[in-house]
């Protein structure tokens, strides 16, 4: 009995090296910056999900008896020109930012993944023409392309996601294609073809899983860009619309007019954007370093 207990303890001790906590600690030690980024992202995710429970004020309702209140014990970050609590709006704004960031970069890079792999798989003239088209799409800066899409589709959260997603597609497709070209030459793709599998199956089951590394690298690096882009569009009045709380929107509508009399109105939302994008960039760098050490120098 005693012996088996000792043995069981030994096993427990041995296993504990691989517990989740140990893995997290290992990551923190090896990639402190990436871990810090991941921590902030996780934090934003939690406050975005629990926004309804951790805030006491209404994020959209105007209250004209508490306009321009400086930061104090009740309103930690003060109130804006409509009397809305800024901290509350920043917490709800995290929801908008993460929603746009995740959805736009996920759909954009997944479409890019499919297009890139397909282009590399078929090769030849199809690939050549496809690459030229991608080149042309990339001759529009991100925000210009997004603005052009907004000018057709109009504004609003769903349309902003679409507008941000579009310019990501060619950027991801190009990177994924480069890896997929190498995968295509590996014998198992030939083997799959000899077995008579159709194109769809070879692309989805044999090629796509092997280009996950560049795909994930692009996906994470897009998230910060998407949040920044959403903030820029909303700031210009061409993104998320009032009264939806969004960080960029909080800087719009005379934030610079109030800059002197109520500096807390522009300071805190801008800090939220900077910290959010910073965290996603750190996370993205860590993901890139882990998955593809060759790209480290860029």
């Amino acid at each position: 009995m005693a012996v088996s207990e000792v043995a069981a303890e030994g096993i427990v001790l041995e296993d504990s090296r691989d517990t989740f906590g140990q893995k997290v600690w290992d990551l923190v030690r090896r990639k402190p910056l990436g871990a810090a980024g991941a921590f902030v992202v996780l934090f934003l995710l939690v406050i975005a999900l629990l926004a309804d429970f951790i805030t006491v004020y209404d994020p959209v309702k105007n209250s004209y008896d508490s306009m321009h209140v400086p930061p104090n014990a009740e309103h930690w970050m003060g109130t804006d020109q409509f009397g809305r609590d800024i901290l509350t709006r920043i917490i709800y704004g995290a929801r908008t930012a993460l929603l746009v960031g995740f959805v736009a970069s996920f759909i954009g890079s997944t479409l890019g993944l499919m297009l890139g792999v397909t282009s590399a798989y078929f090769g030849g003239r199809f690939d050549l023409i496809f690459q030229r088209i991608m080149d042309i799409f990339m001759s529009f800066p991100l925000i210009i392309m997004a603005l052009a899409v907004v000018s057709i589709m109009g504004t609003g959260t769903d349309k902003v996601i679409f507008a941000i997603m579009i310019p990501f597609i060619p950027r991801c497709a190009r990177v994924v294609r480069a890896s997929a070209l190498a995968v295509r030459e590996i014998p198992y793709v030939d083997a799959a073809r000899t077995l008579g599998f159709n194109h769809k199956r070879i692309i989805l089951r044999h090629m796509v899983p092997n280009v996950m590394a560049p795909y994930l690298i692009m996906l994470t690096s897009f998230m910060g860009q998407a949040i920044l882009l959403e903030a820029s569009l909303s700031y210009l009045g061409l993104g998320v619309q009032e009264p939806t709380p969004a960080w960029g929107l909080m800087l719009q509508g005379g934030a610079e007019e109030y800059a002197e009399s109520a500096p807390w109105i522009p300071i805190f939302p801008g800090l939220a954007i900077t910290i959010g994008v910073f965290a996603f960039n750190l996370l993205g760098d860590a993901v890139r370093d882990t998955l593809d050490p060759r790209l480290r120098s860029q």
Partner: protein, 327 residues
């Protein structure tokens, strides 16, 4: 070299035509007819005769692409001859409107580039030489934060800082002038207006270029010829200046050039913050007002600037590095 330039020019043509096709279809992708939209807004009655006249004026009653007298030919020809037609709402000439604002935006762009280069190359170099010391960490924090910080927020913070500081010193808050004065008319007024937007736009730019300088230099410092130079006892200063820096500046040139092409995107927001009447502001206003003809011309202009800048970078690259010319 001239053969190389010729080849590059030939390669540029399909990209330009492709960009024109995309921008061309942009205007046609809006739900409904521009003229109906203009006359009736959403859901009101419009006189069919007025719509027909409007369509004729804008030339959108012609066939789209197939044939000689088509909308697409009109569009490309208009661009080639700098006659871009009229704004849908104000009826003013688009070329005229762009010409009015081009000078201001170009000046901010050039100033931002200069600011960025002046900071980026020394900072990146120090950061690479002192790799993994506190100087390196400070420079890297600066460059990562530059990429994360939205330029419009930096602009607002600059204005806030200016207001507070001038208020403390002179007792009166000071704002940069809003009216644009050309440099040769009044250099002081011109600079005091445009220096801050240039800094706000250039910060991100210099962050990107600093990162690039650092990583390019680190790579070159690991090359064999640097080790040889060190082995023969050359001064570290000479090694950096003559051997390493020269070779690492190639990718930096590319990044600086590419970012210059992307500056238009940065200007879109900075001009809004500083209330500058430049191309970026015109762009935002035209998108806000659904002025499709204006938006279309501006998007095309950005693409042309981008493609031309790329061309210049390629030529510069080949000039700096003979290996590219002959491959």
């Amino acid at each position: 070299m001239s053969k190389y330039i010729f080849k590059r020019i030939l390669l540029m043509i399909p990209t330009l035509v492709g960009a024109a096709v995309i921008v061309f279809f942009l205007l046609r992708a809006i739900p409904g007819d521009v003229c109906v939209l203009k006359m009736a807004g959403t859901g009101m009655y419009a006189d069919p005769e007025a719509i027909r006249i409007c369509q004729q004026e804008l030339g959108i009653d012609k066939p789209l692409i197939l044939g000689i007298d088509t909308q697409f030919v009109d569009f490309v020809w208009g661009f080639a001859t700098f006659n871009l037609g009229e704004s849908m709402w104000t009826g003013k000439s688009i070329s005229g409107e762009i010409g009015l604002r081009f000078q201001l935006s170009l000046q901010v762009a050039i100033m931002a580039t200069l600011t960025a280069t002046v900071f980026a190359i020394p900072l990146g170099t120090i950061s690479a030489i002192k790799q993994d010391t506190w100087i390196d960490y400070i420079v890297r924090t600066f460059s990562i934060s530059g990429i994360a910080m939205p330029s419009f927020w930096l602009g607002i913070m600059i204005i806030l800082g200016l207001l507070i500081i001038t208020n403390k010193i002179t007792g009166e808050p000071w704002m940069p002038p809003i009216e644009y004065t050309p440099f040769w008319v009044d250099p002081w007024a011109n600079m005091s207006q445009l220096v801050w937007p240039a800094v706000a736009t250039g910060f991100r730019y210099s962050a990107v270029a600093t990162r690039m300088t650092r990583s390019a230099l680190l790579e070159v410092l690991r090359e064999d010829y640097v080790r040889t130079a060190r082995a023969k006892g050359l001064l570290e200063k000479l090694i950096i200046n003559r051997h390493a820096l020269k070779n690492s500046l190639l990718p930096v040139t590319t990044v600086i050039g590419l970012e210059f092409a992307f500056l238009m995107g940065g200007l879109v927001v900075t001009e809004q913050v500083f209330n500058l009447n430049g191309l970026g502001k015109l762009f935002v206003e035209s998108v806000l007002a659904s002025d499709y003809t204006m938006t279309q011309s501006l998007v095309m202009l950005v693409a042309v600037v981008f493609i031309l800048t790329n061309f210049v970078i390629d030529i510069l690259y080949a000039w700096l590095d003979p290996r590219i010319r002959y491959s």
